[in-house]
Amino acid sequence: MAKLVGVAVAALLLFAWPDPGAAQEKGTASVRLAMARAMCTTGPCAPAYNFRTGFVQFKKQKQPRPLTRREVGVLRLDGVSSTGPPLPTVLDGVVSARVNFATTDPDADCADTGADLTQVVATSTMNCRTKGPTSSSCRGKLVLSPGVFSDPNCTDVQVFLSDIVVEIFENGGVGDDTKKIARNGALVIGKTPDCNSGGSGCP
């Protein structure tokens, strides 16, 4: 009897324990990342341009949508201003990420099964509209780069994107840090006086 109970418990545990290779079964919902000014404080950037707010949004994706509809999200910068050159009419956005293909392919014909790559996954040409004399608003669709998720043999393989980096450059300046305007992140505004000098709201 004790043996039977032992076997039953073992069997129960075996089936209750998630399969290590089992994939997350739901696609992630839409992602919204805020944009912060590229490292003008300590690194190279496009010093002449600034902006007020910005964000990138990725839509929820489910195969075979990335293969059939290449638009995967939107990119936006508002209140773009300049300290010298004319306001931009076009900006370029680039999204790079670590792309991780699952190791399970039902019909074993996907060449990327198990691949783990860091690459540019999407780009955007952002068109700017002038909003008053000193600022403009730039937005564009985020479109998958050629060759990314374009293999019809791989639409039955789960894909994970992590370490997502979104960057916005002056038109034609992709990859040139001195033309980089924004990068995904967060900005924490300072408040004067500081908490060491009796600033309001301080402990």
Binding site: P18, P64, P106, T155, I189, G190
Partner: protein
Amino acid sequence: MKNILTVSLVAALGFCIWAPSATAQEVATAKTRARMIRAFCTTGPCNPGTNFDSGSALVNRMRQPKPLTKRKIGRIRLHGVRSTPLPSALSAVLTSRLVWDTIDPDGDCPVLGADTSETLATGSLFCTQQGGHATCGGDLLVPLGLLDPRCTDVRLTLHDMKFEVYQFNMVGNDAARIAVDGVSIVPQDIDCSSGGSGCP
């Protein structure tokens, strides 16, 4: 008199409309909402015994001195967590690159101009069990001592934010990692080269 008034009015209007371009971003960024995906069980280390359906990580809009006083800068949640036994708590960590501005009005901030990667926040996710799975959630809190009161007047930019969820009290142990932020694209049953639905 009328001329003087007109000139003054035009000058005032002109000054209001043509504000010189600021050299720094003036508005705190809106909230960031990332999604959680299963840690690299496909090609790297992870906790193979725990899976989940979905998850999200949120970083609120921040303005000083809130990160110093309230310490809560966001929250993180996992839904449909499955493991044997179900967890009662998990641990979360947010790491980030912290870039401090080079301008400090009173010149007393010791990290002025610094650019470092730090643990920006940690959190405990408490789980409630429903049926055969659990929902786990908790706040992300800035560690005590990370932010200096002398630096609340200095602009801080956060880049490369990375959210991770581990088994409880096992932060940093790759074999206990359950989730990271990212995007998961769900596959179809039959691929497009074999006549899958919705294919071109």
